[in-house]
């Protein structure tokens, strides 16, 4: 009888780790609360820094599930999750029950609710949207128009919305929004070559391979403007255009300008699903309210409960590449654990 693993959360991390674990011979059940797999990846049209299509990666992950014949349960709403002796019992609201020798939590993230940052006008002014909504506009392949229906000539992109901000209680950096902003500004320029794009940033975090090159391309090839200054507030003029108030810190003067569309780069927050599962399984949260891993360097897939493991963005913001790598790392950690390897031997 092969050992059983239940993976909670059918996004990138859940899919990839399930595929690997099944390939290694374990009996994996993947639980997903929506009616399809893929998580947030389904909402990204193009991925940084290469601009390849998001659904190529979705296809890659789906093939993993199909080829390995992973057991997938969609529309799964977990009502109970308990550890009894050395086993885990997961119950769904439709009375299905699953037993497992190890649980992998891949419940992912949610995007910051931009309505909490009231001064930026999301939910108040029509022409303020989030980066996710912009990406949806890209995916829909329709003409890129503002919510009030016109073709934008000037578009503003605001970095660090809901991240690095004591005033909303999220002091961490969400890692991917800077490079996403650069990516989206390039995409806007490709669709609307005559439009002007302005990025309002505090810092530009171009940490990954080819990110810096993307930034340079945005400036060189597409003429995207970068203004170093954090937005204090946005208001609306009579025509529904957004008036932006920012200080151009590199010049040293306050700057006022009107844009037709304002895009807010919203950051990562812990998902409700993560909070629910954590409560059921007694998992600890770290600073910043993401799940706490046993060690920040050496045991990033291990939780405080023996037999419960983590992968993906439920522990911290990650890029898609990092998440896939993390999922495979979790798979090998779980495999070792199930074969009796003492994964914490080296910490004693």
């Amino acid at each position: 009888m092969s050992k059983k693993v239940v993976v909670i959360g059918g996004g990138i991390a859940g899919m990839e780790s399930s595929a690997y674990l099944t390939a290694m011979g374990y009996d994996v059940t993947l639980l997903e609360k929506e009616n399809k797999l893929g998580g947030h990846l389904l909402n990204w049209e193009k991925l940084f820094p290469t601009m390849r299509l998001g659904n190529e990666v979705v296809k890659f992950l789906n093939k993993g599930i199909d080829y390995e014949k992973v057991k997938v349960v969609l529309n799964a709403d977990i009502s109970e999750a308990n550890k009894i002796n050395e086993k885990f019992i997961i119950k769904l609201t439709d009375n299905k029950e699953f037993e497992a020798d190890a649980v992998l939590v891949t419940t992912g993230y949610e995007l910051f609710d931009a309505r909490k940052k009231e001064e930026y006008g999301y939910g108040i002014y029509d022409n303020v949207i989030t980066s996710a909504e912009l990406e949806k506009l890209f995916s829909s392949e329709k003409e890129l128009i503002t919510p009030s229906g016109k073709t934008p000539k000037k578009i503003g992109i605001v970095h660090c919305v809901g991240s690095r901000d004591e005033k909303v209680g999220n002091t961490y950096c969400s890692k991917v929004c800077c490079v996403t902003a650069v990516k989206q500004s390039i995409e806007i320029k490709e669709k609307l070559p005559d439009a002007e794009v302005f990025c309002y940033y505090m810092d530009l975090r171009m940490f990954g391979m080819n990110f810096e090159a993307l930034y340079k391309e945005a400036q060189e090839k597409y003429g995207v403007h970068f203004i170093r200054g954090r937005l204090s507030e946005a208001c609306e003029d009579i025509d529904g255009n957004i008036i932006v108030k920012v200080e151009d810190t590199l010049v040293g003067k306050p700057l006022k300008m009107t844009v037709d569309l304002l895009v807010l780069m919203v950051g990562f927050v812990t998902s409700e699903g993560t909070k629910k599962i954590a409560e059921m399984l007694n998992l600890e949260f770290g600073v910043n309210r993401f799940l706490k891993t046993r060690d920040q360097h050496t045991l990033t897939n291990v939780s405080n409960v023996p037999g419960v493991f983590f992968a993906g963005t439920c522990t911290s913001p990650k890029t898609i590449t990092n998440t896939i790598t993390d999922a495979r790392a979790a798979a090998s950690t779980i495999a070792s654990y199930l074969q009796g390897y003492d994964i914490e031997k080296r910490t004693k």
Binding site: K167, G229, L231, E233, E247, P254
Partner: protein, 110 residues
């Protein structure tokens, strides 16, 4: 005296080594959040006084950190202490107390 055409250039650089650090140390002692400002500029963008006059609080704070006090002495009293900068600051710098402390420091080490 023959005019060789040279001028004496006053040093326009920030002479960091020789700038007086007493004021900086005083401020750090009484308002430690001075240290965590990242000069993002949100404070200046939202400033009430900034709507009427040249008052750039981010610049003044950064100048003090470098030991340059002349412009600060000129402008620091323009602050209305309204608190918008504090509400907007992402690092939760205690801007209002910082301004009061700066005024005290400038008076003390004049």
């Amino acid at each position: 005296m023959i005019d060789f055409g040279y001028q004496i250039n006053t040093d326009r650089q920030i002479d960091y080594d020789n700038n007086n650090k007493d004021i900086i140390n005083y401020i750090i002692k009484f308002e430690p959040t001075f240290k965590i400002c990242i000069a993002c500029g949100t404070c200046t963008a939202t400033c009430s006084a900034g709507n009427f006059t040249d008052f750039n609080i981010r610049k003044l704070i950064t100048l003090i950190k470098r030991g340059e006090y002349d412009e600060v002495k000129k402008d620091i009293d323009k602050c209305m202490l309204c608190g918008k900068c504090y509400l907007a600051c992402p690092r939760a710098v205690n801007t209002r107390n910082l301004i009061l402390t700066i005024q005290k420091a400038l008076e003390k080490y004049n």
